[in-house]
Amino acid sequence: MATLREVRRRIGSIRNIAQITRAMQMVAASRMRRAQESILLARPYADELRDALARVTAAAGEDLDPLLARRPVQRIGLIMVTTDRGLVGSLNSNAVRTVLRWITGRLEGSQPTPEVAAITIGRKGRDSLRRAGIPIAAHFAGLGYHPSFAEVTAIARLVTDDFLAGTYDQIVIAYSAFQSTLVQRPVVRAILPIEPSALDAAEEASNDEYLFEPSPQAVLSRLLPHAVAVDIYRAVLENNASEQSAQMIAMRSATDNAHELIDDLTLVYNKTRQATITREMIEIASGAEALAG
């Protein structure tokens, strides 16, 4: 049986933990609101751009730009977006598990077996992939809570150059897509070469009348690298919203658990106290009886 003092000390320390997790929950909640807002604001842009891109590549033809070139895939560049910090529940481990499963599936399915190298954004993904034995070609960390488009453009330029130089034949990106505060879904998606998405027949028929200013090549050579940057930016924002949401939830359940533990320990404390008092009473009573006898 634990002594009263030990139980009291444990209650005290758990109360401190609850205070800390509660504060972290509050901080995450306010960051979460901003992060969710910024991904919701960025989505219309990313969607419009992808729509425009699909129509333009269909109208201009696919051989017009090297970023549309499909080559036999021998080397894959994998951009893995995770968080820098932990305390986000199972967010990162889910993302990493999905990626490793994707890699296994990809390697089994094709001949000759492609090589995979990772470009990691976020410390947690780098650590996990390194442990899994996947070579890390480049690493970016510290994008912070408000990743700017300019920072992401640098990463986009790196992978675009690598793709053009033939270092990679395909670029895929993995991140945790934000669905709601409670639901984040790990996603693996190809971003290069750019796939002109399927268009319905009516739209395709009217596409030849597109005007390009100044020329199809000039528009595509700006639009395509930009689209890659926007894709990556979106992934980073999605992941950021997921991170803050997951952290808020993780901290909330930690706070709840701490309070439950405090309740349990308080019960133990009271029972122990009760038992001590009862024992003392019996000692006094039997002592008195012995004297009286």
Binding site: A42, E48, L49, E209, P214, H226
Partner: protein, 136 residues
């Protein structure tokens, strides 16, 4: 017969609504879009985007990106989009000074290109602020 215009930037949706005319700073000169314009896609430069609609006139600073004229609507996808009434003239002047200092300070060609682009945006921002003040 107004048409639907949407202006989006990576940070937000800056404008959406029916308009009668939009003038955008395309990469090689200004481009005016009236209703029933042919389908078009063009790269954008840095400058003032002007909108005329039933609600009056509106100006935005935009930089980079694209305009797409579709059958059903016109979409401006800009790297940067700021409403003219969000621009604070004093801050704009300050930002332009900083951008000028940057252009003088850097030597790497890629940094210089970036600094020049920033300066151009800052100059345009200041000009829009001044013009708005003069208009009243």
């Amino acid at each position: 017969m107004p048409f639907q215009l949407e202006i989006v930037s990576p940070e937000r949706r800056a404008f959406t609504g029916p308009v009668d005319l939009v003038v955008v700073p395309a990469i090689d000169g200004e481009l005016g879009i009236l209703p029933n314009h042919a389908r078009l896609i063009s790269a954008l430069g840095t400058g003032e985007l002007r909108i005329k609609s039933a609600q009056g006139e509106l100006a935005l600073l935009i930089s980079g990106g694209f305009i797409e004229v579709r059958a059903d609507k016109v979409v401006v996808m800009a790297d940067l989009a700021e409403h003219s009434d969000e621009i604070d003239e004093a801050k704009a002047v300050e930002a332009r000074r900083r951008a000028e200092a940057d252009v003088d300070a850097v030597h790497e060609p890629i940094d210089l290109a970036r600094a020049r682009a920033a300066l151009q945006t800052a100059l345009m921002r200041e000009r829009i602020a001044v013009r708005r003040r003069n208009r009243g």
